[in-house]
Symmetry: C2
Subunit: 206 residues, 2 copies
């Protein structure tokens, strides 16, 4: 059975790079921020709203679309949804469509939660010690050294809140994931190879 | 650099079996309950106290030994220690000695915490869904089916409390571990192979 890999990751853990290498090694599509653009394009919302997190723009088209998309859950009345929520619903739809199209690697965006009912899911969480993450923020993301620690904390807080808000789960809860690892121990390449092996072991069990 | 692997595990996750296979694959010693016996033998405490968790027997020899062993932490006055605490100190000593003797696999007993300062440590946590664990309890540990779910809950509660008491950390906190995985996804053999690969990847980084 083929595998959909979702990767949640702490800021600065190199999770996006790991995911990209894993997708290349497995020969499957890789999705991350491109998701946002695809969702925007599909929904017809001005892409600038995605960047700004604009809460004022209402888009009944996206809302109408999204109503059918978010797992058929009982949703309250339309007016209660912010643009952020609608963007989330649209993204969830993109994620579900991607998974329907076959094996792939999806980084972030609560994909583990959105796809939680799938039996072909391998949900992964990547993290690292604070020093490793601060170093990566400076060296690879170009964050100013004096701001890097603050940036790491801020981004994790943001990701944790986003995850909690849309899933009702704790972001760093071991139970959300089939496998979690510290990229500081294995490096980006080592982590990608380990995950590739994990996919093979999972598929060997059928 | 060679690797000391510690394995924390939920009851019924098959963690002990995984550890045993991993140790065999790596060709290194495997430690689990044998630790208790070795600690008992070394300390001179009647091994029956280990089984019963007898709180009344005091053993000043073990206490004297353990004082020097538990990481040089500031310890309160001798009389405040229960036999359980003294057993823990003696076990911590056994674990430290095992690690000093070279690469090995150690299951349980807060070994990840006891060895946390070692740079050659790979700390692993193994878990599984409740259904998988109940099934293993019945099929492999011989627990009566009608009692299995209760047993799984009771044992996890016990392990979590033990861990929290002796380490001040949360047992299932992702941050305590370099790698965590769900044995329900990979199986015992698959998990052992993945961990073997993790050891090799870690050592390749040096």
């Amino acid at each position: 059975m083929e595998t959909i890999v979702t990767i949640g990751r702490q800021y600065g853990s190199g999770g996006r790079q790991v995911g990209k290498r894993l997708a290349a090694a497995l020969g499957v599509p890789f999705y991350d921020k491109a998701l946002i653009e695809e969702a925007a394009k599909k929904s017809g919302i001005d892409p600038r709203h995605f960047e700004r997190g604009d809460e004022t723009a209402a888009n009944s088209f996206l809302f109408a679309v999204s109503m059918g998309l978010y797992g058929g859950a009982q949703l309250p009345a339309p007016m209660e949804y912010s643009v952020s929520d609608r963007i989330f619903f649209a993204q969830a739809d993109v994620i579900r469509n991607a998974a329907e199209n076959g094996p792939c690697v999806i980084v972030g965006r609560c994909a583990d939660y959105i796809l939680r009912e799938r039996s072909d899911l391998l949900s992964v969480f990547l993290y690292a010690g604070k020093e490793d993450r601060v170093q990566r923020a400076v060296q690879e993301y170009g964050v100013a050294p004096e701001r890097a620690e603050e940036q790491v904390q801020k981004m994790d807080k943001r990701r944790g809140s986003y995850y909690a808000y849309y899933t009702g789960r704790r972001w760093q809860d071991i139970a959300n994931y089939g496998l979690s690892l510290d990229t500081g121990i294995f490096g980006v390449d080592g982590a990608a190879r380990l995950l590739e092996r994990a996919v093979l072991e999972r598929e060997a069990r059928g």
